[in-house]
Symmetry: D2
Subunit: 100 residues, 4 copies
Amino acid sequence: MGKYLRDHPVTPRTDEEKKSIVNRLKRIEGQVRGIQKMVEDDRYCIDILVQINAINAALNKVGLAVGERHMKHCVTHAVQSGEGNAAIEELIDVMKHFSK
Amino acid sequence: MGKYLRDHPVTPRTDEEKKSIVNRLKRIEGQVRGIQKMVEDDRYCIDILVQINAINAALNKVGLAVGERHMKHCVTHAVQSGEGNAAIEELIDVMKHFSK
Amino acid sequence: MGKYLRDHPVTPRTDEEKKSIVNRLKRIEGQVRGIQKMVEDDRYCIDILVQINAINAALNKVGLAVGERHMKHCVTHAVQSGEGNAAIEELIDVMKHFSK
Amino acid sequence: MGKYLRDHPVTPRTDEEKKSIVNRLKRIEGQVRGIQKMVEDDRYCIDILVQINAINAALNKVGLAVGERHMKHCVTHAVQSGEGNAAIEELIDVMKHFSK
């Protein structure tokens, strides 16, 4: 099923949507680089852990934004064409790993 | 207290320790860049979510490695010099945000 | 909106569905009581932490089962009657607290 | 090692410490029973998910309290008797499952 939905034409992301997500990911990329520097500079462990927490939180927000869009487009289309349950099961399956 | 421990001379990370953590962070940085490309290429949302899960798991592992070293050096030294409880409370405080 | 969906007639849970969820919750309730006894018997902290992890995992599974049913019924009905986005936003909102 | 520490005499929990943890667990037990009733009464899924989130958060707080005490007593004693690293590795190991 995953494959099926994956190949279906869904509403492509608008340029604005892409830019918004990519910008958030660029900021996260910069934070990850920042931690590398903290490690090299022998910075205090607790300060590094605080940064790791911040990145995890930022990544989770991106994940929720991607998930929300997925539900509003892909899952919604699937429901409308009678394939909702398969799309929902696919999403729940990925969330199982998320919440673990 | 945090400040106090932070300014204390702790065992500096060896070059090998730094390299091991930095390499893992470089890999994570590459994964974050990979997601940017997936978004720009309009890749399927579920595949993006799977990647985000993978990065979160990799970051958590780095966090645990940093935390383990922190306990084996900073917290251990603090315990030995009678300041253990303050160091432990500082660590628990950062874990509160981790587990939230 | 939440209120609106909340008052809408949704497919009521079957007796079998209720029984399956309630049985899992009864098991979790028993596990929570088990930890109380472990604390009273002065059992080793690590063994208690392992049990807390187990309960968290079991609760997350119940949450995903409830969420899956919610999507397959409430959200699906909302999509079919043109109110999908509101239902999806309500669900994402609760997941924000879940993943935190 | 785990076994070793487990059999060591550690500072037993005071009655007050036990009561504080057990009371929190009793409240959690009541919340789990509350969800059973919500399911039986066919309450709205989102309200059930909010309750599950609340229980998870409460359980995590108990876990952190148990972990803090563990570090302040068992791990501290282990450090003082030269067995700190084994105790720290045991704790990190249980946290690996926690943060997953």
